[in-house]
Subunit: 486 residues, 2 copies
Amino acid sequence: QRCTHLRDIVFRAIGEDWIFLALLGVLMALLSFTMDYIIEKCQEAKLWLYEEVAFSVGLQYLAWTFYSIIFILFATGFTHLVAPQAVGSGIPEMKTILRGVVLKEFLTFKTLLSKIVGLCSSLGSTLPIGKEGPFVHIASIVATLLGKLTSFRGIYENESRRSEMLAAACAVGVAGTFAAPIGGVLFSIEVTATYFAVRNYWRGFFAAVCGALVFRLLALWFKNEDTITALFRTSLRTDFPFDALELLAYAFIGVVCGFGGALFILLHRKIILFTRKQKRMTIFLQKNRFIYPGLVALVIASLTFPPGLGQFFAGNLTSRQAINELFSNITWTTGQADNLAEEEIISHWKHPDTNIYVNLVIFIVMNFWFGAICNTLPIPAGVFVPVFTVGAAFGRLVGEGMAAWFPEGIPSGNVIRKIVPGGYAVVGAASLSGSVTRTISTSVIVFELTGQISHVLPAVVAVLIANAIANQLQPSFYDSIIKLKR
Amino acid sequence: QRCTHLRDIVFRAIGEDWIFLALLGVLMALLSFTMDYIIEKCQEAKLWLYEEVAFSVGLQYLAWTFYSIIFILFATGFTHLVAPQAVGSGIPEMKTILRGVVLKEFLTFKTLLSKIVGLCSSLGSTLPIGKEGPFVHIASIVATLLGKLTSFRGIYENESRRSEMLAAACAVGVAGTFAAPIGGVLFSIEVTATYFAVRNYWRGFFAAVCGALVFRLLALWFKNEDTITALFRTSLRTDFPFDALELLAYAFIGVVCGFGGALFILLHRKIILFTRKQKRMTIFLQKNRFIYPGLVALVIASLTFPPGLGQFFAGNLTSRQAINELFSNITWTTGQADNLAEEEIISHWKHPDTNIYVNLVIFIVMNFWFGAICNTLPIPAGVFVPVFTVGAAFGRLVGEGMAAWFPEGIPSGNVIRKIVPGGYAVVGAASLSGSVTRTISTSVIVFELTGQISHVLPAVVAVLIANAIANQLQPSFYDSIIKLKR
């Protein structure tokens, strides 16, 4: 009883809410870190298996495809059996909930379990699937469950406080995915709210910072990283990041990404509407619910198979590795590489029969429809990372083109400095993910992700252009899903 | 008439609002750039005059003090005669207006003129006075006047659209001061709103980016700058910005800045209440309204006089120069300097009779009360830059202390890397300005200002701590002013 008394004093001094938020942030960081670890191991296991059977291409193909199929089928089956509410991103549903609609069984422990296991499994398949949407959902469930604990009863019972905490949880979810507290908070506000209270923004920020701090400290202690760094740390040249004239090329990226984002949303909707229209097929697929995911996994895995078509578009890289390489500070087309690490990066994107441009175009086209189709599967899946990767590849393509066009750089005054294609990749990633999710905070997320802010102006300009164009053509990806579910 | 028709078509295609916002951003950038130029020339003129009469210390003293006094008195007289509404920061008033209160004569052309001329004059005096609050006010007036133009009548006549545009104008004002669009928008939301529409945030962002883009392009073309860069560009070490243990030192900065911010607000209020309490003095000062500003200018100019006390705390530096030097990537205490530029920086902060720590402490104490008292003068004056400078100095003090305590750096694993005092200065600046204005977006502003985001995590942690502590002790600086004006 003395213990309860002590707890009451502490709670009153600091404020129940803040303890709740800190706890939420820390819990999500732990969860995020553990899941990242499991997912990474699953992905590594696939490559390991693939290398193990190197003596036979046939076996390699079987290993490569079946590994993905099994993981996807497990995710499909598990989410279906435990809680089908865990299917999809979760952001559209959270948007609906924060508007005051009650979705049944959406924030229960069963759904949490289903989402966590399903997400680990679907990401472990190495298919291009995102995790930021599911993480928003997971964080919201964790917040709800935490609110049911005796100490936080007050939060759970008060309607308006509960929705405040849910808003904060969404912020923690995004921030936890990328360890990007500022961008995460803004992103969650943009995708879930139309009006928001400044005090909610402070709360979300606080929880997100607690989460990001723990997340990075965990990385420091367990992954033997040198220090607390950004997730996709870049080392782009900062003394002269870009010439004013290059802004035109950046604006061009924005324009294309605007159309591209709208096309992505359209494609995704068309796929869903197409499967719905075929009545007999729909019934057949619903009865045999493993056929569609299995087929999709088979097709995607076959196409990325490294000795097959995969050799032309870095099929053996996970999204994370691909993003890291696309953001690298070397010009691929000139083929200059100072060390082994750089040579390895270029080797992934070069092929004797084609050139880097062709490979990048294949990468963009392939991952574009991979991303759209993976989001129609009945598994927990997000959209952010896939489009982020495609955007980065497109940016890199433009950047490499610029570097080839101006091999000496653009003269300004008496100095001539070379073009940094990595900067274009960063801007492209922000633009496409911004136009698909219809947010401008992606421009903040990329800086937190890369740890460099030198390209801030091109990025915000391109993101704004992309958003403006996409807005004329299509609703946001999440709004499109909300409409489809009606 | 064909012209009007054409205009109508363009307006309908792009949307009147967006043209309005873009125009507002560009206009504010032009204004901001021109004013920066004038202010810089005024400040340079003071130093030139001071150097010209180097043959006599007495003349130097007269030149140094009278220059400041004349500028301050001119600002006092001008604002009093043209429009006394221009006195002070403007943010508290904008907060009141955005809540729906009508302040008379606050958004007229006369006030604009009074604020612009008054601000140029008060900043030209080289006293520690900020410009971000006045800029918010100026942007709001420009938006209001722009709304009265025939083409934008629709905006001016619609109450809710007008307030939307005013909110965007506040964002442009902050963003224009620092060419920091993202942080500027967030800062303006935090200081003026309690509830906020996401669409307003997009609008503010758009206008701010237009402004920042033009602002930086102007700098590129007219100031012969190499390229588009940040305002206070730092070159801190980024490969290993800080050790996890240093987070404790950063948290300490946050704690002290929290108390410091509260103390600043208290001091400012006490000064105002003190002058009000003395009835006879108040009447005397109101009749002779030049005495108080003149006295303050005399005292501050005398104290900063370089051959006098000024030699101990870099009295001959403007806030801008001081911030640049405090953020520099060299450790002052070790006295290592690789080139002449670095030697010059250290020479400003070193004195044979004292040491760097003492000088920094004097700098902090002096500028602390300078900042508080300057904000009580009847001239256009902001608070952000003064407290930002003090915070930077405090951060530098802690950083230098850490560097002296761990001259070899803190060992982590098998690598030992030295401490970066410049990073501490950045965090200190964000913390103190955050706790005074009670915002967390200062942590974003510093990254846009410095062009480096490597210290994002320590900065947000310190800013959150500073805000939490200051919040327990005092209202925000702007709320304190609102209370005083009631």
